[in-house]
Symmetry: C2
Subunit: 172 residues, 2 copies
């Protein structure tokens, strides 16, 4: 698979892209309406089981709500202006740090072995966390409503019409 | 293993921590001196083969230089003030993006299927790349020399003495 090139690189779960696109569709539904996982999957050309896994992760993270039953489906848990890109990304990918600190400074021949000698986080870890905070801030500054508004002019008129028709047909 | 909790999270290679600590030691060597992978491994309490993999990645990325022979070892490829944290992290983890864009916008029922309809990157991808740039900028702004200088006051005097003695003994 092409996207697996460069093994060892840091990688977000590849479900993040699908989740963000789904969240944008959910954000475009009229209030009270839902869309099924099956219809979202067809819209994006992915398998329903694959997408349901990510939709359920969004429900667990309180980003989306699942309405059960034969006429059920998914909607956002709150208005699109109150869901950030970071909310969606962390729903799929977790909130944990990308940098793995195993306290190497305490584990070798030059460590005194006294835990009290390390009252603060290692500066390496501090800087890595600062970088991750910068990443998070960009995604936290952008809501789904912002994204939809900014993306609109770039969407080809044919796709825009198809998306509107599809969502009007699939919503329930 | 504890650090594997939260499977599915984005993760940097756990070699990044060891590589950064090694790079700091290399940056502290007097000009022209090297230290062996074996001595670095003992210093950090990790296996030599594990560390050599990462040291070789740093050599491939022109961050470190390997001096061959029985009295050989590793040194930085340039002064510590000219090697950034990003150089070291990307040596281990690659330069590829964390976000995986599979052009989902072009793959489903609402895409017109005309590649000319997508002249620009998807806004989702643009924003994700912007977040990664912010992460990169923090790490590119910090050299190994900066890191060593800022970390110094936080290192316990016992460890500082042990590190200095070890490096003085191991360098060659």
């Amino acid at each position: 698979m092409l996207w697996r090139q460069g093994v060892g690189m840091r990688r977000l779960s590849e479900g993040v892209e699908a989740a963000l696109h789904c969240a944008l569709v959910l954000g475009a539904l009229p209030e009270g309406k839902v869309i099924s996982g099956k219809d979202l999957a067809r819209m994006f050309g992915v398998s329903e089981s694959y997408l349901l896994k990510h939709l359920r992760a969004m429900v667990s993270a309180d980003v989306a709500t699942a309405v059960p039953g034969p006429r059920g489906g998914f909607r956002l848990a709150r208005p699109a202006g109150q869901v950030t890109m970071l909310d969606v990304v962390e729903a799929i990918d977790g909130k944990g740090p990308a940098f793995v600190c195993r306290e190497i400074r305490q584990s070798g021949a030059t460590s005194c072995g006294d835990p009290r000698a390390y009252p603060r986080d290692c500066l390496v870890k501090q800087r890595m966390m600062q970088a991750e905070d910068a990443w998070r801030q960009v995604l936290a500054a952008q809501t789904l409503a912002d994204l939809a508004r900014e993306a609109a002019p770039d969407i080809d008129p044919r796709d825009r019409a198809a998306i509107a028709a599809y969502v009007a047909w699939a919503q329930r």
